[in-house]
């Protein structure tokens, strides 16, 4: 047996994988060869050192590490189930998204209008004072009159419809309104009004 072979057997021995004849032949070689004896001794000591030292020096992670890890985990879990639901119901998700967007846009339109708006074809005789829109007695408004966010006081004559949105109206005994009188102050009514108004506007254009 040469020394190279012996070295390889030494390692096998340290791996607990040297038995029988091979073990005996290594023993024989070690007794004859002082340099291999030295080599083996060093290897054996290294082995012992490694096991002993590494085991003894116990490094431990900081205690808050478990918390830190657990904090990163549940958040992911929630997100994943949420995503799973979305993936499973694409149509419902789309419908829900559409509803949400519609609701928000409608609400924002409704809320943003708190300025006084007066609409009509013939506004020459209309008197506006603060939030009060007055049609004085004796004067005549040709066509429709719409008042948003204000009070309409009618003393004279309106030849079309009178529409009051988010406000109130007062009709004097002298007033004469040829068309309909409509008062709108609920969100749903308002939306309906918007929709029909859009359609009629489109239709008459």
């Amino acid at each position: 047996m040469d020394c190279k072979q012996a070295t390889s057997l030494m390692h096998e021995y340290l791996d607990d994988e040297l038995f029988g004849e091979e073990a005996l032949s290594l023993k024989g070689h070690l007794q004859e060869c002082p340099s291999c004896q030295m080599h083996f001794k060093e290897l054996e000591q290294t082995e012992m050192m490694l096991f002993a030292t590494i085991k003894r020096s116990s490094f431990s992670a900081s205690d808050e590490l478990v918390d830190r890890i657990m904090k990163t985990i549940p958040s992911q879990h929630k997100q994943r189930t949420w995503l799973k639901w979305v993936k499973r119901h694409p149509a419902l998700t789309a419908a829900a998204m559409f509803l949400v967007v519609m609701l928000f846009s409608a609400l924002s339109l409704w809320n943003s209008d708190d300025q006084l708006v007066v609409k009509g074809k013939d506004l020459d005789h209309v008197v506006i004072n603060g939030r009060t829109v007055t049609v004085p007695s004796g004067s005549k408004v040709a066509g429709n009159l719409t008042v948003e966010n204000g009070t309409a006081e009618i003393y004279g004559e309106v030849e079309g419809n009178l529409t009051v949105i988010d406000g109130s109206y007062f009709q004097a005994s002298t007033a004469k309104i040829l068309g309909e009188v409509k008062s709108i102050d609920q969100a749903l009514d308002w939306i309906w009004y918007r929709i029909t108004n859009t359609f009629t506007e489109v239709a008459y254009r």
Partner: protein, 190 residues
């Protein structure tokens, strides 16, 4: 005994039981930390590895084969993460080269002191330090085998499972690593 306990915890954690998962983290965090600390010699990085390992476990439960030991799977994830880190760490720039954007600034100024000295973080004897440095100086492929063998006391076949390589390769690496350490320690502690 311990193994049975393990299997039950793993089963529960796999089904989404948070408490069992926390128990598993608690049970294994120090082992993984020790492994990562030996591989990287840096406390912060080692803690990152622990965190990343458990995150991967959580995300990849479906890939875990219950016939395998949980610890083997765990060590495999952790060692792979460590080896990736070591690979990325390889400097691909020269420290002496001046930075392009700022004058008078070179690579040295970016190094936040030497964090890699173990004695600054733990009280170690001189012998322990010498051994620690010797292990630290091992090339990565020997390092992982040596650490799994001496720190986690895994058998050769377990190491081959963790590192996903044939037992013969594990043996060769272990033998070379052992010789390397012997030479390093020869005149210092033996």
């Amino acid at each position: 005994m311990v193994d049975h306990f393990d299997v039950r915890l793993v089963k529960l954690a796999r089904q989404g039981d948070q408490e069992s998962f926390a128990d598993l983290v608690d049970l294994y965090k120090d082992k993984i930390f020790h492994l990562a600390y030996r591989m990287l010699s840096n406390r912060h990085e080692a803690e990152d590895i622990v965190q990343e390992t458990f995150l991967r476990v959580y995300k990849n439960w479906e890939r875990y084969d219950e016939k395998q030991k949980f610890s083997t799977w765990l060590y495999r994830i952790a060692t792979n993460l460590c080896i990736d880190r070591l690979r990325k760490r390889k400097p691909n720039y020269y420290l002496d080269a001046e930075m392009n954007d700022q004058e008078g600034l070179d690579g040295y100024t970016l190094i936040p002191g030497d964090e890699r000295t173990p004695e600054s973080e733990y009280l170690l004897t001189e012998t322990q330090q010498t051994i620690h440095y010797a292990i630290d100086g091992l090339p990565a492929k020997y390092k992982s085998v040596i650490i799994l063998r001496y720190l986690q006391e895994l058998s050769l076949s377990e190491i081959s499972d963790v590192l996903d390589m044939p037992v013969t390769t594990v043996k060769t690496r272990l033998h070379r690593g052992r010789e390397f350490l012997r030479k390093k320690l020869q005149h210092k502690v033996l």
